[in-house]
Structures are given as C-alpha cells and as structure tokens.
Symmetry: D2
Subunit: 140 residues, 4 copies
C-alpha cells in the first residue's frame, strides 16, 4: 500500500479562476515527499540535507491534470516508488479528492551529493526502504 498523506487547498494556492494554480501542486507534492521520507523511509529532510549533505532533486517530471481542485478541499496524496536504480528512483504521486483523481505525477528523483554537486549511489538505508516499498507495490 503506498504511503499516503493529505494537503488542504489554501487561499494561497488558488488562482483568479478559483482553482489551484498548478505550481502550487508541486509545492504540495514536495511536502508529501518530505512526509514520505520522514515518516516512511526513515530520514527527514533536515537530517538528510543538513547533516548527511544529501539531496533528492527531481530530474524528470510528467504530470496529467485530470480535474481542477478548489479552495478548502482536502486532497489525498499517495506516494509510490518504483524499483530504484543505482542513483535514481521513479516515483508516482497521485492527488485525489473523494476518490476523484485530480492529478497524477511521475517523477524521477536523483540522489545527490550536495558537497560534490553530483549524483551518488543511494545509501543502503534508503535503497532498502525504497526497494521494500517497490516490491510491496509489484503486482502478484
């Protein structure tokens, strides 16, 4: 079962047409990925960035916007990794409200050494956590 969290559509997120301005979805997405790392993969972003000097920038992103979201709605967000590569990992994030899909996003995250400014192999703890979740998600 994928990791799940929520985000509320705030006044700050909504455009003059009354719907979420799409760059705000990516802020919510980044917040969901932070929650996923902290609550499910075992490393919070502060520790990862500031102590371990690692980042996980997005190098590729595909999004389909299925239906608009409106002020006050609480969006359910699921985060599902695929099998990690040596230095990268595909992740699918879906936003929905009352079972209606709003947005599906496929990203590729890369494990980055923030001091050398280049990609690095996933450390064992993260690789193991990602692999475990990817396996759980595999079809029988």
């Amino acid at each position: 079962m994928p990791f799940s969290t929520t985000a509320q559509v705030r006044f700050a997120d909504v455009d003059p047409a009354g719907i979420v301005f799409y760059p705000r979805y990516f802020e919510m997405l980044n917040g969901a990925v932070e929650d996923w790392f902290a609550q499910s993969l075992g490393v919070d972003f502060a520790t990862m960035h500031l102590t371990r000097k690692m980042g996980v920038p997005t190098v590729k992103l595909e999004a389909e916007f299925a239906a608009p979201s409106r002020l006050g709605e609480v969006l359910a967000i699921t985060v599902q990794p695929g099998t990690p590569g040596r230095t990268s990992c595909p992740v699918t994030i879906a936003f929905s409200n009352n079972g209606e899909l709003r947005l599906r996003v496929n990203v590729v995250l890369v494990c980055m050494d923030l001091e050398k400014h280049r990609s690095m192999p996933w450390p064992d703890d993260l690789r193991n956590a990602l692999t475990a979740q990817a396996e759980v998600a595999a079809p029988a």
Copy 2:
C-alpha cells in the same frame, strides 16, 4: 485561550541561508487564519468567499521577527483577536517553537464586500464570534 494551530517548516519555505524566507511566514499566517475562521469562528474561507462573497483582506500589518526558524520544525501558531470595530478587527498572531517566540504579528483585517469592492460591517455571526473571543482574552 487563543485559537492555536501548527505549521511545519517545509523545504519550500527555507532560503539559501537555511532559515524561513519571511514571505512564507505570511502564507503560514494566512493558513492559520483560515483554520481559525473554519474551526473557531464558524465560517470556512470557501463559503465566505464563494457563497457569501465576503473577504477579510489585511490592511495593516506589523511583524517582529524574534528568532529564525529552520527546516523541519513544527511551529505553534496562536491567533488572538482584539475587540472588533464596525468593519475591522485587530488580530495578533504569534509563532513559536518549544516555547521560543519566533515571530509576532499584529494585523488589522477588514470585512470586505467582494461584489461592491468596499468594506462592510461584520455580519452578526462573525461579530459575535470575534467579540466572544476578544472578551475571553481580556485581563480580569
């Protein structure tokens, strides 16, 4: 006792110096005011803006930044109104972490008719709710 809620310092909120970029505090503040209206004053922002065609823009704001906030911290936010005027209301919002004050903000909100684009007297439900909370806050 003032209304209280929380906000987590996200990656999106933090600047290159490692601390919250202050305009983000005002987005958190606006989110806290949304929670206060919905959970404590009895009117959520979607209903207020879209159905009742009312807004509560900020016409005055004073902020003192007492100490910086960092990635991953969960900030406690309190919202305390003063006695409402005919069309406006002073509100004090304080952010803290583990009892350390980070930011205190005094704002004046104005009740605005979004169709006539001008201020309007507080409707009874909001005036009563604001007054009740202001009274509770008054010293004995």
Copy 3:
C-alpha cells in the same frame, strides 16, 4: 523564431541547497506564457481572464531538468507552440543560461470557458496567432 523572454533567479526561488526549487520554475514558466500572450499573441491575461472570461489551464506537462540554476542568474526562456488542436495546443518552453539548457518543458494548454467551466474552441484571433507561430517553427 520562438518568442523569448527572461527571468532572473531571485532569492525567493532558491532552496537550501543553493539551486532553484523546481516549483518556482513553473511560476517563471507561467510568467513567460503571460508575456507571450500579451506581447506576441495579442491578448493579455487580465483581458483574457477578466473581460473575455477565458483561461488557458495546463492539462499536461513534461519537464526535464538538465542542469541546476543559481541565485542571480538571468535565464533566457523561449516559448514555441506546435499546431493548435480544436481546443488545445502543445507548447514547448526552454530555459537556458549562456547557451546551457537548464530545463525543457512540454505542456498542453487548453482553452477554457471560465463561466461554463469547460473547454472551448480557440477563438479565431488566438487560433490564427498560434497557427502562424507554429508554421514559422516548422522545419523546411
């Protein structure tokens, strides 16, 4: 030749790792699309949204992040439409700095009737402008 504009990487755009936080690229992208509509397609966003009650939400988006961008850099942004469909249009937006590609994004915009909340055929002025630019871009 595609429409081109620029955006400066501001302190507000940069994350704790010292590079542009990617949701900010989409705000820059939206700004470039606004400039393109106003300066090249002949309709500014205020007139389009508020007077003509039309929007152009993004329904699909693919981005590849080729290299990071840093505080203070001025990014060159090009906007190139493909041939418009009845209600939608593919557009490619590229960000570069000193000839180095930073980000390439393919989006699909949809022409939206903001009062009926559904897609509508491109009005003639926009269809003609998009078609003219798409033709110019075609290889010989």
Copy 4:
C-alpha cells in the same frame, strides 16, 4: 531620489478575489531590495550570500495596504534607506501604480554573519553606500 524599480502583477500573485495576495507583495519587495543592492549599493545578493557569507534578514516590518493591485498592473517600487545603525538599517519601500499608492512598508534590515549566525557591523562599502543614500534623502 530613492532607488526605483518595477514589478508586474502576475497570475501567480493574484487571489480568488482578483487582487494581489499580500504575501506576494513581500516577494516583490524582496526582489526590489535585491535590485537595489545589485544596482545601487554595489553588491549583488549572490556575491553577498555565497562569497561574502553575509545576509540582510528583515527583523521588523510594518506595512499599510492603501489600495488593492490587480492582474497585469506594473507596480513602481521605490526603496529609500534611513541612516544606518551599527548593524541595522531602516528602509522604506513604497509600491504605486500611476501615482496611486498601493502599499507602504517600513522594514529594518540587519547585517548578518551567515557563518557565525549573528549580526555584524555593516562593512564599509555598504555603510558608505547606505549613508550616502540616506543623506540624499534628508530634508534640507
């Protein structure tokens, strides 16, 4: 004469009520302060933060919102320092459109050593530049 620059009200800046969402003003304000440092005080933010390891966080802020701003407007922004103290400096920033004041903000900036995480005396180049501009602004 105070330093002046402009900011355009973008789709990203405007709320469901059709006016600038006020936290966005503070992003514009920060952009104007960046322009002022780079173009008028002689130190750009990238050099200041990344090479000289100095920041200028805001420790106090007072804003009065005189009139709303709307999508597509180009706002004139002026930046006027007062006499600098040892480690801080008051600065007044005003936003207007066609001579109509929209927003006046008084901030106090503090010169911060980003490595020691504490305030530091203004370096001579900045103190001299600030003092020169403050003197010019003084009434006869």
